[in-house]
């Protein structure tokens, strides 16, 4: 199956933006994990994952968000999530991710959130 998952990476100041497309399951999650890990290794800890093009997520994809968040917050950073399509939002919410992450409606709002609330305060 061609290009089931794609990541487009960009930055705005010290914020790294990952636009993810396609589906994020146990097959494609390792690619996402490597991309996030590389960013942390490069000392960048303010990340936005823009999910506008993400059509599907399973627990393997959600696990990537969970696996890094503690380390990133210890380094004064955060992962903010934006632009979830309804089906994907439902999966995040089924597990209660809205209690653990800032989930914003759009990329500009996610960028603004880093200005307003750079750190997760629960």
């Amino acid at each position: 199956m061609a290009n089931p998952f794609r990541i487009h990476q960009s930055s705005q100041g010290d914020i790294s933006i990952f636009k993810v497309e396609g589906y994020l399951d146990a097959h494609t999650a390792p690619e996402f994990e490597r991309a996030i890990q590389a960013e942390i290794d490069a000392g960048r800890h303010r990340l936005i994952v823009d999910c506008e093009g993400l059509t599907y997520i399973s627990s393997a994809g959600l696990g990537v968000f969970m696996g890094f968040i503690e380390e990133i917050r210890e380094r004064e950073g955060d992962i903010k999530i934006c632009s979830l399509v309804p089906k994907v939002r439902q999966t995040f919410e089924l597990l209660g991710f809205q209690q653990l992450y800032h989930i914003l409606d759009s990329l500009p709002e996610a960028i603004q959130k880093f200005t307003d609330t750079p750190r997760w305060e629960g």
């Binding site: 146990a26 696996g67 089906k87 999966t91 209660g96 209690q99």
Partner: protein
Amino acid sequence: MSVIERKFLLQVPSSTENLAIVREFLNKVGQQAGMGDDEVAKVQLAVDEACSNVIEHAYGHDSSKEVMVRVSFDHETLRIEVIDTGQGFDPSSIPRQELEELVAQRKTGGLGVRLIQKLMDEVHYEVGPGKKNQIRMIKKIAR
């Protein structure tokens, strides 16, 4: 009144690249069963999680093994069985932890089992390590 039951069977090599095929299979069967898009999406995710657990845990990514998905439906109910012959998996071995605790401990395991429970109406595990393990899931069809 006689009840007509339709049965479908999919068998794929135990590799995560086949999860997309499993999901597409469930999409077609769910549509034929008359389920709405939202219900089909829940079934797809639950079965993806069950198959991912088999591929990763029961077979340890050994793609020479096979994962079997059996689906049947009648007017009211969709029944799915995910079957493997690998190492048994006991879901009760997963501690019930809050998401916050898992994050603090940097653990990500057990999310799939949790999702399956939330998505399906009934979930039953039958474990026979090395012989036959199966997870049976039932989803009522909203009419």
